[in-house]
């Protein structure tokens, strides 16, 4: 089936089998390998992307369902050389260890702070219910999202914990 969609601002037309999962289309056809395949059962969230402005799991979406859609992947989140506040937060607050869950975490976190500019720690943790970190590095992931939320509000983030001990 022929599908046409906009990926990170660029129009893409391709011929796909109906059974092609969106994540495989993104990785294998478009060669955008920042979106990861983790559990493949829609639990882990490593495949999270934005489809028509909402965070979704691309391993549980058919590429044909995305015909006509606008998609943003981790590669399309930064504004040129300027990192998205969440990307900056993960960098500044060491929000990753092995990095495998990071693209999905960042895509979901971007939506959390877009919809709720001043989330509490509970709201952040609840917001990333659908993203698993097998390094269990949630502490700094939460700190990274708090940093990003502050930055996006135009405020100075809290100093890093290691700067205050």
């Amino acid at each position: 089936m022929e599908i046409t969609l906009t990926v990170n601002g660029e129009k893409v037309t391709a011929d796909v089998e109906p059974r092609t999962l969106l994540v495989h289309f993104i990785r294998d056809e478009l060669r955008l390998t920042g979106t990861h395949v983790g559990c493949e059962t829609s639990y882990c969230g490593a495949c999270t992307i934005h489809l028509n402005g909402e965070a979704i799991k691309s391993c549980t979406t058919l590429a044909v369902q995305a015909d006509g859609a606008e998609i943003t992947t981790i590669e399309g989140l930064a504004d040129g050389e300027t990192l998205h506040p969440v990307q900056e937060g993960f960098w500044e607050r060491h929000g990753l260890q092995c990095g495998f869950c990071t693209p999905g975490m960042i895509m979901q976190a971007a939506k959390i702070i877009e919809e709720n500019p001043d989330p509490s720690e509970d709201e952040i943790r609840h917001g990333i219910d659908g993203n698993l970190c097998r390094c269990t590095g949630y502490h700094n992931i939460v700190k990274a999202i708090e940093y990003a939320a502050a930055k996006a509000r135009g405020e100075e983030p809290e100093p890093a914990e290691w700067e205050t001990v």
Partner: protein, 277 residues
């Protein structure tokens, strides 16, 4: 994990989708796909044709029709969780379904059609006394909530029928839903959960449904009988599993799940009574 090969049609109307189902007995309907696609990836299901109703216009609304709220087949769990028109039991159940990304994609009607006993919203739907509208080429019929679920992952929908709308009566009173999720708290599928609707804060006139423990989300008729005769929620909850075959699974023994059902029936009733006052 790829599904087996299948044909795919994005239907433009309910009529077109119904005709496709009529002509292709091996077809399955897809709305959000959050239940169907995992089943196909695990090859528990391998339909020859997937009829995608996701692009049909007009099925994405929540409407107040005076005596009931009409929820279109494409309304996402997230919309249910955020809508001021939805009674508290169903709002809560939708908010506790899956995770944020899942709620952005999964539809409420799809959860009913999928008929998973561990899902949250079908249990609330039963307690609220809703109905579904099923359409096929010959017309449509309305199915009451307590007749919607037949067995494990089996709804009353025929293979040629499409669930186009869910109706929730505007019964007033108060309602509530509570559960234990598989990952603790309210996160993930329910190990056991209960929804309650009460006509007023006395709780005497009520509908209570139990999910997660048997094969289908079921009315707890023993609890309702006890409440009608003036029992306290705590005493009435002792009858939570009457008529339900509680099944042991990976998440708990029969004894543990029976205990949880009582706990959540009591909590749902108490909360519904508080919400009614």
């Amino acid at each position: 994990m790829y599904p087996r090969e299948f044909e795919y049609v994005a239907a433009g109307s309910v009529e077109e989708a119904a005709q496709l189902l009529e002509d292709n007995p091996g077809a399955k309907v897809m709305s959000g796909g959050m239940s169907l696609i995992p089943m196909m990836k695990l090859r528990l299901l391998s339909p020859e044709l997937v009829v995608d109703i996701g692009r049909i216009p007009g099925l994405n609304t929540i409407e107040d029709r005076g005596d009931h709220i009409a929820i279109g087949a494409l309304v996402r769990q997230r919309q249910i969780a955020e809508s001021p028109l939805i009674p508290m039991a169903l709002k809560t159940a939708a908010a506790q379904t899956g995770d944020a990304q899942v709620r952005n994609t999964a539809t409420f009607a799809g959860a009913i059609a999928h008929a998973d006993v561990a899902a949250d919203t079908p249990t609330a739907f039963v307690a609220l006394g809703g109905t579904i509208v099923a359409k096929c080429v010959d017309g449509e019929r309305e199915i009451a909530a307590d007749a919607c679920f037949v067995d494990t992952l089996t709804s009353a929908l025929e293979a040629n029928e499409i669930l186009t709308e869910v109706r929730i009566p505007k019964s007033g009173g108060g309602s509530a839903y509570d559960k234990l999720g598989r990952r603790g708290g309210h996160t993930d599928y329910s190990v056991a959960g209960a929804a309650a609707w009460v006509a007023d804060s006395s709780g005497r006139e009520c509908r209570v449904a139990v999910g997660g423990v048997g094969t289908i989300p079921a009315l707890a008729s023993g609890v309702m009988e006890a409440m009608a005769s003036g029992a306290s929620p705590e005493d009435a909850a002792e009858r939570a599993c009457e008529g339900i075959t509680v099944l042991e699974d990976l998440y708990g023994s029969e004894e543990y799940k029976s205990h949880l059902a009582k706990v959540f029936v009591r909590r749902a009733l108490e909360q519904a009574m508080a919400n009614a006052s």
